[in-house]
Protein backbone atom coordinates (compact mmCIF):
# COMPACT_ATOMS: atom_id res chain seq x y z
CA UNK A 1 0.00 0.00 0.00
CA UNK A 2 1.03 3.51 -0.60
CA UNK A 3 1.99 5.16 2.68
CA UNK A 4 -0.89 3.69 4.72
CA UNK A 5 -3.64 5.58 2.90
CA UNK A 6 -6.85 5.05 4.76
CA UNK A 7 -10.32 4.83 3.31
CA UNK A 8 -12.71 7.26 4.99
CA UNK A 9 -15.95 6.48 3.20
CA UNK A 10 -17.32 4.02 0.65
CA UNK A 11 -20.42 4.86 -1.37
CA UNK A 12 -22.43 1.96 -2.68
CA UNK A 13 -25.73 1.86 -4.50
CA UNK A 14 -28.01 -1.10 -3.74
CA UNK A 15 -31.29 -1.76 -5.52
CA UNK A 16 -34.13 -3.07 -3.37
CA UNK A 17 -34.53 -5.96 -5.84
CA UNK A 18 -30.81 -6.66 -6.20
CA UNK A 19 -30.99 -9.54 -3.76
CA UNK A 20 -28.68 -7.75 -1.32
CA UNK A 21 -30.03 -7.06 2.15
CA UNK A 22 -28.65 -3.73 3.30
CA UNK A 23 -28.47 -4.55 7.03
CA UNK A 24 -26.58 -7.77 6.32
CA UNK A 25 -24.23 -5.92 3.99
CA UNK A 26 -23.47 -3.47 6.83
CA UNK A 27 -22.77 -6.35 9.20
CA UNK A 28 -20.49 -8.02 6.66
CA UNK A 29 -18.65 -4.74 6.06
CA UNK A 30 -18.16 -4.19 9.79
CA UNK A 31 -16.77 -7.71 10.08
CA UNK A 32 -14.43 -7.76 7.13
CA UNK A 33 -13.04 -4.21 7.33
CA UNK A 34 -11.11 -4.94 10.52
CA UNK A 35 -7.35 -4.60 10.12
CA UNK A 36 -7.72 -3.40 6.53
CA UNK A 37 -7.41 0.11 5.10
CA UNK A 38 -11.19 0.30 5.50
CA UNK A 39 -11.05 -0.03 9.29
CA UNK A 40 -13.00 2.96 10.58
CA UNK A 41 -14.43 3.75 7.17
CA UNK A 42 -18.07 4.69 6.83
CA UNK A 43 -20.25 2.66 4.48
CA UNK A 44 -22.70 5.02 2.82
CA UNK A 45 -25.51 3.06 1.21
CA UNK A 46 -27.82 4.60 -1.33
CA UNK A 47 -30.86 2.33 -1.70
CA UNK A 48 -32.80 2.43 -4.94
CA UNK A 49 -36.50 1.59 -5.15
CA UNK A 50 -37.46 -0.60 -8.08
CA UNK A 51 -39.20 1.00 -11.03
CA UNK A 52 -40.50 -0.29 -14.32
CA UNK A 53 -41.42 1.54 -17.49
CA UNK A 54 -42.88 0.81 -20.89
CA UNK A 55 -40.08 0.51 -23.47
CA UNK A 56 -42.25 2.31 -26.05
CA UNK A 57 -44.04 5.18 -24.31
CA UNK A 58 -41.95 5.28 -21.13
CA UNK A 59 -45.07 5.27 -18.97
CA UNK A 60 -44.07 3.95 -15.55
CA UNK A 61 -45.65 0.91 -13.94
CA UNK A 62 -46.03 0.98 -10.15
CA UNK A 63 -44.52 -1.65 -7.90
CA UNK A 64 -47.04 -4.40 -7.27
CA UNK A 65 -49.04 -3.68 -10.43
CA UNK A 66 -49.21 -5.97 -13.45
CA UNK A 67 -45.89 -5.31 -15.24
CA UNK A 68 -47.48 -4.40 -18.54
CA UNK A 69 -48.07 -0.97 -20.06
CA UNK A 70 -51.71 0.16 -19.73
CA UNK A 71 -51.48 2.12 -22.95
CA UNK A 72 -49.38 -0.04 -25.30
CA UNK A 73 -49.81 -3.46 -23.73
CA UNK A 74 -46.06 -4.09 -23.94
CA UNK A 75 -44.18 -5.79 -21.10
CA UNK A 76 -42.59 -3.17 -18.85
CA UNK A 77 -38.84 -3.19 -18.33
CA UNK A 78 -37.09 -2.66 -15.04
CA UNK A 79 -35.35 0.70 -15.22
CA UNK A 80 -33.83 0.65 -11.73
CA UNK A 81 -33.80 -1.34 -8.54
CA UNK A 82 -31.46 -4.28 -9.25
CA UNK A 83 -28.11 -2.49 -9.07
CA UNK A 84 -25.17 -3.44 -6.81
CA UNK A 85 -22.62 -0.76 -7.53
CA UNK A 86 -19.50 0.55 -5.84
CA UNK A 87 -19.82 4.21 -6.71
CA UNK A 88 -17.04 6.08 -4.98
CA UNK A 89 -14.18 5.64 -2.54
CA UNK A 90 -13.07 8.57 -0.40
CA UNK A 91 -9.54 8.00 0.80
CA UNK A 92 -6.53 9.86 2.06
CA UNK A 93 -4.30 11.11 -0.69
CA UNK A 94 -0.95 9.38 -0.48
CA UNK A 95 1.74 11.59 1.04
CA UNK A 96 3.95 12.97 -1.68
Amino acid sequence: MHGGSRVHRLHVKIGELSGVEVDLLKTAFDTFRERTICEGAELAIDTVAPAWACPSCERTVARGAILRCDACGRPARMIQGDEIILQRIEMEAPNV
Partner: protein, 245 residues
Protein backbone atom coordinates in the same frame (compact mmCIF):
# COMPACT_ATOMS: atom_id res chain seq x y z
CA UNK B 1 -1.32 16.71 3.35
CA UNK B 2 -4.02 19.34 3.49
CA UNK B 3 -2.85 22.29 1.46
CA UNK B 4 -5.83 24.51 2.22
CA UNK B 5 -5.08 25.58 5.77
CA UNK B 6 -1.94 23.68 6.66
CA UNK B 7 -3.73 21.84 9.48
CA UNK B 8 -1.74 18.69 8.91
CA UNK B 9 -4.81 16.52 8.30
CA UNK B 10 -4.51 14.20 5.34
CA UNK B 11 -6.24 15.32 2.19
CA UNK B 12 -9.28 13.21 1.31
CA UNK B 13 -9.69 12.43 -2.36
CA UNK B 14 -12.80 10.92 -3.90
CA UNK B 15 -12.20 8.16 -6.43
CA UNK B 16 -15.06 7.45 -8.81
CA UNK B 17 -15.48 3.72 -9.36
CA UNK B 18 -19.04 3.03 -10.61
CA UNK B 19 -18.38 -0.66 -10.96
CA UNK B 20 -20.73 -3.54 -10.36
CA UNK B 21 -19.62 -5.29 -7.18
CA UNK B 22 -20.23 -8.68 -8.84
CA UNK B 23 -18.27 -7.74 -11.95
CA UNK B 24 -15.82 -10.64 -11.44
CA UNK B 25 -18.72 -13.08 -11.55
CA UNK B 26 -20.17 -11.29 -14.59
CA UNK B 27 -16.85 -11.61 -16.43
CA UNK B 28 -16.65 -15.30 -15.59
CA UNK B 29 -20.27 -15.75 -16.72
CA UNK B 30 -19.38 -14.10 -20.02
CA UNK B 31 -16.56 -16.59 -20.38
CA UNK B 32 -18.95 -19.50 -19.71
CA UNK B 33 -21.32 -18.05 -22.31
CA UNK B 34 -18.54 -18.23 -24.90
CA UNK B 35 -18.01 -21.88 -23.93
CA UNK B 36 -21.71 -22.59 -24.45
CA UNK B 37 -21.76 -20.71 -27.75
CA UNK B 38 -18.66 -22.56 -28.90
CA UNK B 39 -20.31 -25.86 -28.09
CA UNK B 40 -23.51 -24.80 -29.86
CA UNK B 41 -25.67 -25.75 -26.92
CA UNK B 42 -28.53 -24.13 -25.08
CA UNK B 43 -27.67 -23.51 -21.42
CA UNK B 44 -30.54 -23.27 -18.95
CA UNK B 45 -30.23 -22.14 -15.33
CA UNK B 46 -32.97 -24.09 -13.56
CA UNK B 47 -33.83 -22.67 -10.15
CA UNK B 48 -36.49 -23.25 -7.53
CA UNK B 49 -37.10 -24.20 -3.90
CA UNK B 50 -35.84 -27.46 -2.46
CA UNK B 51 -38.41 -30.02 -3.49
CA UNK B 52 -39.97 -27.91 -6.26
CA UNK B 53 -39.44 -30.78 -8.68
CA UNK B 54 -36.44 -29.57 -10.68
CA UNK B 55 -34.85 -33.00 -10.98
CA UNK B 56 -38.18 -34.70 -11.68
CA UNK B 57 -38.93 -32.26 -14.51
CA UNK B 58 -35.54 -33.02 -16.06
CA UNK B 59 -36.17 -36.76 -15.78
CA UNK B 60 -39.51 -36.33 -17.54
CA UNK B 61 -37.85 -34.12 -20.17
CA UNK B 62 -35.26 -36.83 -20.88
CA UNK B 63 -37.98 -39.45 -21.13
CA UNK B 64 -39.88 -37.46 -23.77
CA UNK B 65 -36.81 -36.27 -25.67
CA UNK B 66 -35.53 -39.84 -25.95
CA UNK B 67 -32.79 -40.13 -28.56
CA UNK B 68 -33.84 -36.91 -30.30
CA UNK B 69 -31.79 -34.56 -28.09
CA UNK B 70 -28.53 -35.01 -26.25
CA UNK B 71 -29.05 -33.60 -22.76
CA UNK B 72 -26.48 -32.71 -20.15
CA UNK B 73 -26.73 -31.34 -16.65
CA UNK B 74 -24.73 -30.18 -13.69
CA UNK B 75 -26.53 -30.20 -10.37
CA UNK B 76 -25.61 -27.98 -7.48
CA UNK B 77 -25.95 -29.98 -4.31
CA UNK B 78 -24.78 -29.21 -0.80
CA UNK B 79 -23.77 -32.70 0.18
CA UNK B 80 -24.83 -35.54 -2.13
CA UNK B 81 -24.68 -36.84 -5.70
CA UNK B 82 -28.30 -37.93 -5.62
CA UNK B 83 -29.62 -35.55 -8.29
CA UNK B 84 -26.80 -36.31 -10.73
CA UNK B 85 -27.29 -40.05 -10.11
CA UNK B 86 -31.00 -39.73 -10.87
CA UNK B 87 -30.32 -37.70 -14.01
CA UNK B 88 -27.65 -40.09 -15.27
CA UNK B 89 -30.12 -42.94 -14.79
CA UNK B 90 -32.66 -41.03 -16.89
CA UNK B 91 -30.18 -40.65 -19.75
CA UNK B 92 -28.94 -37.09 -19.04
CA UNK B 93 -25.14 -36.98 -18.85
CA UNK B 94 -24.70 -35.38 -15.43
CA UNK B 95 -22.20 -34.27 -12.85
CA UNK B 96 -22.56 -32.80 -9.38
CA UNK B 97 -21.20 -29.48 -8.22
CA UNK B 98 -20.80 -29.98 -4.49
CA UNK B 99 -21.34 -26.62 -2.88
CA UNK B 100 -20.78 -27.55 0.77
CA UNK B 101 -22.67 -24.94 2.75
CA UNK B 102 -23.00 -22.49 -0.14
CA UNK B 103 -26.61 -21.82 -1.07
CA UNK B 104 -26.13 -21.00 -4.77
CA UNK B 105 -23.91 -21.63 -7.77
CA UNK B 106 -21.67 -18.92 -9.14
CA UNK B 107 -20.06 -18.64 -12.55
CA UNK B 108 -16.68 -19.93 -11.34
CA UNK B 109 -18.16 -23.15 -9.95
CA UNK B 110 -19.98 -23.76 -13.24
CA UNK B 111 -16.82 -23.06 -15.24
CA UNK B 112 -14.87 -25.57 -13.22
CA UNK B 113 -17.61 -28.17 -13.73
CA UNK B 114 -17.65 -27.49 -17.49
CA UNK B 115 -13.98 -28.33 -17.78
CA UNK B 116 -14.51 -31.62 -15.99
CA UNK B 117 -17.72 -32.49 -17.78
CA UNK B 118 -17.59 -35.93 -19.44
CA UNK B 119 -19.22 -34.88 -22.72
CA UNK B 120 -18.89 -31.94 -25.15
CA UNK B 121 -21.61 -32.83 -27.67
CA UNK B 122 -24.75 -31.89 -25.75
CA UNK B 123 -27.68 -30.05 -27.35
CA UNK B 124 -29.18 -28.72 -24.12
CA UNK B 125 -27.23 -28.23 -20.92
CA UNK B 126 -29.14 -27.74 -17.68
CA UNK B 127 -27.55 -26.07 -14.71
CA UNK B 128 -29.71 -27.31 -11.86
CA UNK B 129 -29.10 -24.74 -9.19
CA UNK B 130 -29.14 -25.30 -5.44
CA UNK B 131 -32.71 -25.44 -4.13
CA UNK B 132 -33.26 -21.88 -2.95
CA UNK B 133 -35.54 -19.06 -4.14
CA UNK B 134 -33.22 -16.26 -3.05
CA UNK B 135 -29.47 -16.31 -3.70
CA UNK B 136 -29.26 -18.15 -7.04
CA UNK B 137 -31.09 -15.27 -8.73
CA UNK B 138 -28.19 -12.87 -8.14
CA UNK B 139 -25.47 -14.80 -9.96
CA UNK B 140 -25.25 -14.91 -13.74
CA UNK B 141 -23.82 -18.28 -14.77
CA UNK B 142 -23.60 -17.67 -18.51
CA UNK B 143 -26.97 -19.28 -19.23
CA UNK B 144 -29.19 -18.42 -22.18
CA UNK B 145 -32.30 -18.45 -20.00
CA UNK B 146 -33.41 -18.62 -16.38
CA UNK B 147 -36.19 -21.05 -15.60
CA UNK B 148 -37.88 -21.15 -12.19
CA UNK B 149 -39.71 -24.27 -11.05
CA UNK B 150 -42.57 -23.47 -8.67
CA UNK B 151 -44.63 -26.37 -7.35
CA UNK B 152 -48.32 -26.08 -6.59
CA UNK B 153 -47.72 -27.14 -2.99
CA UNK B 154 -45.64 -24.01 -2.35
CA UNK B 155 -48.62 -21.67 -2.57
CA UNK B 156 -49.76 -18.98 -5.00
CA UNK B 157 -48.02 -16.10 -3.25
CA UNK B 158 -44.41 -17.22 -3.70
CA UNK B 159 -43.72 -14.96 -6.71
CA UNK B 160 -44.73 -11.94 -4.61
CA UNK B 161 -42.59 -13.10 -1.69
CA UNK B 162 -39.50 -13.78 -3.82
CA UNK B 163 -39.69 -11.03 -6.45
CA UNK B 164 -35.94 -11.02 -7.23
CA UNK B 165 -36.05 -14.61 -8.44
CA UNK B 166 -39.14 -14.11 -10.61
CA UNK B 167 -37.95 -10.75 -11.97
CA UNK B 168 -34.95 -12.59 -13.45
CA UNK B 169 -36.95 -15.53 -14.83
CA UNK B 170 -37.51 -16.11 -18.53
CA UNK B 171 -39.98 -18.89 -17.79
CA UNK B 172 -41.84 -20.24 -14.77
CA UNK B 173 -42.63 -23.94 -14.70
CA UNK B 174 -45.63 -24.61 -12.48
CA UNK B 175 -44.86 -28.16 -11.39
CA UNK B 176 -46.80 -31.02 -9.82
CA UNK B 177 -50.07 -29.91 -11.44
CA UNK B 178 -51.36 -33.46 -11.05
CA UNK B 179 -51.80 -32.56 -7.35
CA UNK B 180 -54.13 -29.61 -8.01
CA UNK B 181 -57.36 -31.65 -7.52
CA UNK B 182 -56.18 -32.46 -3.98
CA UNK B 183 -55.32 -28.88 -3.02
CA UNK B 184 -56.96 -25.50 -2.62
CA UNK B 185 -54.67 -24.09 -5.26
CA UNK B 186 -55.81 -21.20 -7.44
CA UNK B 187 -53.96 -21.20 -10.77
CA UNK B 188 -55.37 -17.76 -11.67
CA UNK B 189 -53.92 -16.35 -8.42
CA UNK B 190 -50.41 -17.60 -9.18
CA UNK B 191 -50.69 -16.27 -12.75
CA UNK B 192 -51.65 -12.89 -11.33
CA UNK B 193 -48.75 -12.95 -8.85
CA UNK B 194 -46.27 -13.85 -11.60
CA UNK B 195 -47.54 -11.00 -13.78
CA UNK B 196 -46.77 -8.50 -10.99
CA UNK B 197 -43.12 -9.46 -10.61
CA UNK B 198 -42.10 -10.90 -14.01
CA UNK B 199 -42.15 -8.38 -16.86
CA UNK B 200 -42.64 -10.86 -19.71
CA UNK B 201 -44.75 -13.22 -17.66
CA UNK B 202 -44.65 -16.72 -19.08
CA UNK B 203 -45.71 -19.79 -17.16
CA UNK B 204 -46.07 -23.38 -18.33
CA UNK B 205 -47.98 -25.95 -16.29
CA UNK B 206 -46.33 -29.35 -16.08
CA UNK B 207 -46.50 -32.64 -14.28
CA UNK B 208 -43.41 -34.81 -14.26
CA UNK B 209 -45.56 -37.64 -12.93
CA UNK B 210 -48.17 -37.73 -15.71
CA UNK B 211 -46.05 -36.05 -18.39
CA UNK B 212 -48.69 -33.35 -18.90
CA UNK B 213 -47.19 -30.16 -20.33
CA UNK B 214 -43.71 -31.65 -20.77
CA UNK B 215 -44.19 -31.54 -24.57
CA UNK B 216 -44.84 -27.77 -24.45
CA UNK B 217 -41.79 -27.29 -22.21
CA UNK B 218 -39.64 -29.33 -24.60
CA UNK B 219 -40.88 -27.22 -27.51
CA UNK B 220 -40.02 -24.04 -25.57
CA UNK B 221 -36.47 -25.39 -25.16
CA UNK B 222 -36.10 -26.45 -28.78
CA UNK B 223 -37.22 -23.04 -30.02
CA UNK B 224 -34.34 -21.50 -28.09
CA UNK B 225 -31.61 -23.78 -29.35
CA UNK B 226 -28.87 -21.92 -31.21
CA UNK B 227 -28.50 -22.45 -34.94
CA UNK B 228 -26.26 -25.41 -35.75
CA UNK B 229 -22.59 -24.61 -35.63
CA UNK B 230 -19.52 -26.51 -36.74
CA UNK B 231 -18.29 -28.01 -33.48
CA UNK B 232 -14.60 -27.99 -32.77
CA UNK B 233 -13.41 -31.30 -31.33
CA UNK B 234 -12.82 -29.90 -27.85
CA UNK B 235 -15.44 -27.17 -27.85
CA UNK B 236 -12.86 -24.41 -27.54
CA UNK B 237 -13.48 -21.66 -30.03
CA UNK B 238 -12.80 -18.84 -27.65
CA UNK B 239 -9.56 -17.29 -26.57
CA UNK B 240 -8.28 -18.63 -23.31
CA UNK B 241 -5.84 -16.89 -21.08
CA UNK B 242 -6.02 -19.37 -18.26
CA UNK B 243 -4.91 -22.89 -17.53
CA UNK B 244 -7.45 -25.64 -17.16
CA UNK B 245 -6.87 -27.93 -14.25
Amino acid sequence: MCETCGCGDPEIVPIEVQERILSDNDAQAGHNRSHFDGLGLLAINLMGSPGAGKTAVLEATAKLAGERLKLGAVSGDLATDRDADRLNASGIVSATITTGSACHLDARLVHHALHHFPSSDRDIFFIENVGNLICPAIYDLGQAANVVALSVTEGEDKPLKYPVMFQKADLVLLTKIDLIPHLDFDVAAVEDAVARVMPEANMLKVSAKTGEGIDTWLRWLEERRPATVERPSDGHQHEHDHEHD
